[in-house]
Subunit: 213 residues, 2 copies
DNA sequence: CCGCATCCCATGTGATACTG
DNA sequence: CAGTATCACATGGGATGCGG
């Protein structure tokens, strides 16, 4: 009997045996955004010890959750189809955990990949479908994201391009998404700084992305 | 900074900080079925050391996931509203993990609460709505469950009462739910033993409860 | 520099025993 | 029955090293 075996024949149990170890679901979270190199994963999880990252990648690979893909000179890790089916799990966890985030603590960061997943969690396709297509450039700390909403479709990338609204913000952005902070107050209090574009587009942004309380 | 702090301001991260410890989500799983006493939780998680169970209950209580409720002479633990909102997470995990359960290993058990959650995961309300109301009595190992399906509603209890079909089975029942085993073959191979009632009701059962592959 | 492997220590976990 | 105490051990964290 393996140390991680809970001794039950049950789906939940099996799932936590596979991805219940520390850091595992955060690695999955980042890989849901796209294939990543070892160093990119390490950068997105600044506090993970390198031996743990290496160990998790091996375990998740052995379990069929992700794949190690040698790609012209470099190696990338990507989710298998089985691993990609964790998306509902990760989004559900994110939606639940968002309710308990409180205010950002000292030293807490937002990474591009975690922000991308948060946006996917908060995205309301049925609301977006009623609104005109819009592109946003969001600078969250050191990360720059381009968010394109077109009907019920969402695309978040790290490349830049033309946008309707550009704004800079920090961890407080998630308080805007939770509805705790109104767009107007977010601008007034400096939580969000509009760089380019009409500031009332931030209302549209807040309508489009909303973490239910 | 707490040892369990991942240092990120992100919903997924917060969630695994709260319920990512070993055993925590299994405790939540059982409490999703109903309030439980300490001894009942211990019985449903046979391999959990008592000190770990005690520690988890304290942590989850401090986090607002569950509550310790003194009830006439005894103490029960029950989920808070916040904790109950973990149901989508647990069901999503169960649905995902079910795909990787394989065949039951030596010593793996099914508890009444884990089976109840598995049934909730597998329940297809839209299919059930088209079928006549049906009550099943399922004996899974030592556990006896009464499963009542009425339109799109599901009720699983441990009390007995009149049923249309009574059957006895073991861990292999989940292979029936996954569609890996057809109802006819489940009976023929002895995975399911029909005790009372028309055996073709097992087809209806398999239609009503299905874990997608 | 990237992709890890090694070392050492702190912490968490597990088994068992024990107590109100 | 509902936990607490104790101790051995496994795992995680952080620093460092090292080969390609």
């Amino acid at each position: 009997m393996a140390p991680r075996d809970y001794g039950q024949y049950c789906g939940v149990t099996r799932a936590v045996e596979l991805v219940g170890e520390r850091w595992a679901l955060l690695i999955v979270r980042d890989l849901l955004v796209g294939p990543r190199r070892y160093g990119e994963l390490a950068a997105g999880l600044p506090r993970i010890p390198s031996n743990i990252l290496a160990a998790r990648l091996k375990e998740l690979q052995a379990e069929g959750v992700l794949r190690r893909v040698p790609r012209s000179r470099v190696v990338v890790y990507e989710l298998t189809p089985f691993g990609r089916e964790l998306e509902p799990v990760v989004l559900a966890l994110g939606a639940w955990g968002a309710k308990a985030m409180g205010v950002p603590r000292e030293g807490q960061i937002i990474t591009p990949d975690s922000m991308t997943v948060s946006l996917r969690t908060a995205f309301r396709p049925q609301v977006a479908a009623e609104l005109p297509a819009t592109a946003y450039a969001a600078r969250v700390g050191p990360a720059e994201l381009r968010i394109r909403v077109d009907g019920p479709a969402l695309d978040v990338t790290r490349e830049d391009g033309p946008v309707d609204l550009a704004f800079a913000t920090g961890p407080g952005i998630l308080r805007l998404l939770s509805g705790e902070l109104a767009p107007g107050r977010a601008i007034a209090t400096g939580v969000v700084e509009v760089l380019r574009g009409p500031r009332d587009l931030l209302d549209r942004f807040a309508d489009t992305f909303h973490l239910a309380a």
